[in-house]
């Protein structure tokens, strides 16, 4: 019986997200990133902005709401995100604890699902019997 049990990965993931685990983790990670990694990140950002200011002198005189998207675009073009994400990936996301947390919650969802399916099967079979 147990061998036949299969689980749909996508369903698992969507359920995981639906139950709010994903957002919780996301916030948590963002916080940790903000604490640990933001220092060098912001330093680099400052450098990029300064460079951009030198490149385009009108930015200084521009309204900040107009200048901000321009700078954001410049940041996008730089390798800041790639580098920092690489860093974050290796430091934060590859954390074994995090993996375990996810795995455990997924397992729980999976078990619940299997139980649920079993119940349904039972119900179905019961009704079938009843009909007969």
């Amino acid at each position: 019986m147990d061998r036949d049990v299969t689980l749909n990965v996508d369903e698992l993931v969507s359920k995981f997200k639906k139950e709010g685990h994903f957002d919780r983790l996301r916030k948590q990670i963002l916080e940790t990133v903000n604490e640990k990694e933001s220092g060098p990140l912001l330093d680099r950002l400052k450098k990029i902005i300064d460079e951009e200011m030198v490149k385009d002198r009108t930015l200084k005189s521009k309204d900040q709401f107009r200048a901000a998207p321009l700078i954001a675009g410049a940041v996008d073009r730089s390798s800041l995100y790639e580098d920092s994400m690489e860093h974050i990936r290796s430091n934060v996301l590859s954390d074994q604890d995090l993996r375990e947390v996810i795995y455990n919650s997924l397992e729980q969802i999976g078990i619940e699902q299997i139980e649920h399916e079993d119940e349904e099967k039972l119900l179905n079979s019961k009704t079938m019997d009843g009909r007969k």
């Binding site: 061998r3 749909n8 950002l45 994400m85």
Partner: protein, 920 residues
């Protein structure tokens, strides 16, 4: 016999043949023709012979032999026999040769076009074998398998209709081509020309290449090993053209594919991953249904692509909905007379879910594996989410923070920068909202200074305000940072306007900003008004939002709160002294010296004014920023005395009149006295007083030339006429005789009935017919039409009509909307300006223009006495006019036309006190 010969020999001038005796006296003498025989030779007679068709004598000849029922043929008919094996002579041509085709035209297009003449059997568009482009020559043969004559007929029609037809900008030339020899010849010719050109080109190229090569050889010896480059292009093109030739051959053989490359139409291997409709090959015989037909058949649906193989056609779709729609619409329809059956294929559910993500990943797994897989998926998603978060939550705010903390460039620097870039940068405005808000009793308004010239330009302020509203709405849908920007800007302008308010320098303002005018106005109304200017503004706003303000009024109001406060106060100080009536010789001391110059002004005053005004006297041509109170002043002596208040004014006056020639008046004082006493005697004004122009009462039309007589002939529109003609366009007459003993229609009927009963009782046998009483006639309301005060003709009641009584039915032709549109256009073209079209519903309209009854004469009124109802009588809808109130004898009948609102307004002339001004 003898006698006959003797008479003939007697009068025998006839030696010639071919004659006819027109008149033979032997057969009966006619006095006026004499005794001589009249002949006609060779059909030429003295009175020229008029040949008439004897059949025309019979007017009903064309109907044929009486009672036979078969008409005569108008002309002889040729009989066409089908060409078959028994026919003589060569086969009729079934091929056409098309030349002068634009190189852009594909064979597909040609085929599609020529299919309209008949079944196309073969279409051979000649291609340039070197480049693969079209040579503009084509041989089209029509399908003669079933019937040669049909094919020949198609070819003939093709020549008739397609010859000279413009196809992609070039007129086609189509000729019959029996055996394709014409096409062959033309193709050879074209090919020769192409080859010649090609050879020339290659030669030239070779020459260039050779030169190039020689120079290169000089440069490096190593390059020598290369293949001579001039061979390269020719080789390339050769192979290419070969390929193309083959290709075109393939197409000609496989007609299904049309012009598409086989790779394009080949069914992909993973066809099962698509949503597609399959048309089985059984339904679409390849010789009858082509790829293009299928494409054409499905053109209305957003299919992705059409593939085909020996199983049939596969029409793939992007989404399920479109596919199912298509399936429902086109299943069991006909393509080229072939009924097609569609087979609907959906993506299997597994792949559907999987489609978005990696196709390699297995989805359904045993639990442990599934957990691991899911974990990695979650991690991947987390990473993506994190990147987004970092961007928006860390980097974004950091940029802003940095920009904010950055020292603002000094003004000088900024200026330099602006000079450098000359861009329209918006400097940050210091935020002063808190300070100003604290001081103000009312909420801040969002306004902006606007050129008065611009404001005056907007004739339809209503439409403009609508536009503004729309624009405002659009603002709200803009990206957030724009909106934020807007907010900051508006707060800045808000601060500006507040400052202005504090300075109480009232000026024209137009509301602007996201919050909208209504809100701000409301807040104004709610809060106590704190100064005169704001009150004025407030009123102004209310008027603006209502947008009903007339221009004249509007301008006057402007005047009220612009400069009047100063000038009027000045006037109040100065005018008493200036306006003291004095004896003619003694004019005020301070004005004695400028007297002379002022006199000169008088003669020239009108000219001076004309420049700024048009004939209505109210619209600027944009010369002045706004209206002055001085504009209402009559520029005579008193007026000028009133206007010129100090030395400064006087100096300006002098300046303005510098160029004017001096008038010869002896004693200025006496002249001035004469003028003033003359004015007084005319009774226009009190002595020496009232410099202000009298307000025109009632109807007033100002003429540019100053006099209506000098204007010449001009047409006064009816709307304007109604303003001063007392009886024009006044439908509502004063019902003077509200007699209590008025005979209503009901009483009328009752009386009639009584009369009829009485007649019957008296039993008069002879005049029974005469006295027969028509009850229906009595019920009909007595109406007549005549000249109306509203518009041309109108319908008038000839009896008293009770409220809710049926008055008349609106009768006319019942037509459809389409027809009505056409007719309306035609009527306008014919000069029938009035509309007699009455709409019953969206598609049914009653047209009483040409056929109808007098109900069509009923005019519109905004305060009608009738109402039009659409009622159902025996299942047919009728328009019936009912009386909406008691209508007196002689009153004109009116009802509300209820025209839909439109851009071009039709002025209403009903003259009712509640008139809306327009019909629509």
């Amino acid at each position: 016999m003898d006698f006959n010969t003797s008479t003939r020999s007697k009068s025998q001038p006839v030696q010639r043949n071919n004659y006819k005796v027109l008149y033979d006296p032997e057969l009966g003498i006619k006095e006026n023709l004499g005794r001589k025989i009249i002949y006609r030779f060779n059909g030429v007679s003295k009175p020229p012979l008029v040949v008439r068709d004897p059949r025309l004598k019979n007017p009903i000849y064309a109907r044929g032999i009486p009672k036979s029922g078969r008409p005569f043929l108008k002309s002889l008919q040729t009989i066409n026999y089908d060409y078959n094996e028994n026919s003589l002579g060569p086969e009729p041509p079934t091929q056409v040769f098309v030349s002068n085709i634009s190189p852009l035209v594909t064979s597909e297009q040609l085929r599609y076009h020529f299919k309209s003449f008949g079944e196309v059997f073969d279409l051979d568009l000649k291609l340039n074998p070197y480049t693969g482009t079209s040579l503009g020559l084509c041989c089209i043969s029509f399908d003669k398998r079933s019937s040669i004559s049909v094919a020949a007929h198609s070819a003939k029609i093709a020549v008739q209709q397609a010859n000279g037809l413009r196809f992609s900008g070039k007129p086609l030339s189509v000729v019959l081509d029996r055996d394709g020899s014409l096409c062959e010849e033309a193709f050879k010719k074209a090919l020769n020309a192409v080859e010649k050109q090609f050879q020339e080109e290659t030669l030239q190229k070779q020459r260039f290449e050779r030169e190039d090569e020689s120079s290169r050889q000089k440069l490096s010896a190593a390059m020598n090993e290369d293949i001579p480059p001039w061979r390269q292009p020719s080789k390339n093109s050769q192979t290419l053209s070969n390929g193309d030739l083959q290709h075109s051959k393939v197409q000609n053989v496989d007609q299904k594919s049309g012009f598409l490359t086989s790779s394009e139409t080949d069914v992909p291997k993973n066809i099962n991953d698509y949503i597609y409709l399959l048309i089985d090959d059984r339904f679409v015989p390849p010789d009858r249904v082509y790829y293009t037909d299928i494409k054409h058949h499905f053109r209305k649906f957003l299919y992705e692509k059409i593939y085909m193989n020996k199983d049939g056609f596969y029409i793939t779709f992007n989404n399920y909905r479109e596919a199912s729609n298509c399936y429902r619409a086109l299943d069991r329809t006909y393509v080229q007379n072939c009924r097609i059956k569609l087979k609907f294929h959906d993506i299997p559910s597994r792949t559907k879910e999987d489609g978005k993500k990696s196709a390699v990943r297995r989805v359904v797994l045993p639990p442990e594996e599934a957990y691991a897989e899911a974990t990695s998926v979650v991690l991947r998603d987390l990473e993506a989410a994190l990147l987004r978060d970092v961007k928006s939550k860390i980097i974004g705010p950091a940029i802003f923070k940095y920009l904010h903390s950055m020292p603002k460039p000094s003004v000088k620097e900024e200026l330099q920068e602006n000079l450098l870039v000359s861009s329209t940068s918006v400097p940050d405005v210091p935020l002063k909202i808190e300070s100003t808000v604290g001081k103000l009793p009312s909420l801040p308004k969002f306004k902006k200074r606007v050129d008065s010239s611009k404001m005056n330009l907007s004739a339809g302020s209503k439409t403009k305000s609508k536009l503004q509203r729309r624009r405002r709405r659009r603002h709200e849908a803009r990206p957030l940072h724009y909106q934020l920007n807007q907010m900051y800007n508006s707060s800045a302008s808000e601060a500006e306007s507040d400052q202005e308010l504090l300075l109480s320098s009232g000026d024209e303002r137009v509301e602007r900003g996201k919050i909208g005018s209504i809100k701000s106005v409301k807040s104004d109304e709610a809060t106590p008004v704190f100064s005169d200017t704001s009150d004025e503004n407030d009123k102004f706003h209310r008027f603006r939002t209502k947008s009903k303000i007339s221009k004249k009024k509007y301008e006057k109001m402007e005047v009220d709160y612009t400069s009047s406060s100063e000038t009027e106060s000045d006037a109040s100080i100065l005018s008493p002294s200036a306006a003291i009536p004095k004896s003619g010789s003694a004019i005020k001391d301070e004005l004695i010296s400028p007297k002379k110059e002022i006199d000169e002004v008088l003669a020239l005053a009108p000219k001076w004014r004309i420049n700024e005004f048009d004939e209505t006297g109210s619209v600027y041509y944009g010369a002045l920023p706004y209206n002055y109170p001085e504009d209402d002043v009559l520029l005579d002596l008193d007026g000028l005395q009133y206007l010129v208040k100090n030395d400064e004014d006087y100096s300006y006056l002098q300046e303005a009149l510098k160029d004017e020639p001096l008038m010869d008046i002896n004693d200025p004082n006496f002249w001035a006295y004469e003028r003033k006493s003359c004015k007084f005697k005319n009774g226009d004004v009190k002595y020496g007083d009232t410099a202000i122009l009298p307000e025109p009462k009632g109807y007033f039309r100002s003429n540019t030339s100053g006099s209506a007589k000098s204007e010449g002939y001009y047409i006064i529109p009816t709307t304007e006429k109604s303003l001063y003609l007392p009886l024009r366009n006044r439908s509502t007459i004063d019902t003077i005789s509200h007699s209590t003993s008025r005979i209503t229609s009901r009483m009328n009927r009752v009386n009639n009935r009584r009369l009829a009963a009485g007649v019957e009782k008296s039993q008069l046998p002879a005049e029974a017919d005469l006295l027969r009483f028509n009850a229906l006639k009595a019920r009909k309301k007595q109406l007549h039409f005549g000249p109306s005060r509203i518009h041309t003709l109108g319908l008038f009641a000839m009896e008293n009509i009770d409220k809710n009584d049926m008055v008349i039915e609106y009768i006319g032709e019942i037509i459809r909307q389409r027809v009505a549109d056409n007719r309306e256009k035609n009527y306008v073209r014919e000069g029938i300006g009035d509309s007699y079209l009455f709409r019953i519903d969206e598609d049914v309209i009653v047209d009483a223009t040409k056929k109808g009854n007098i109900a069509r004469f009923i005019n519109h009124s905004c305060a009608p006495n009738c109402i039009a109802r659409i009622i159902r009588v025996e299942g047919k809808r009728k328009i019936v006019i009912y009386a909406d109130r008691d209508i007196m004898h002689g009153e004109e009948l009116t009802y509300d036309y209820k025209f839909p609102e439109e851009a071009d307004k039709i002025p209403c002339l009903c003259g009712a006190p509640t008139c809306r001004g327009y019909l629509n």
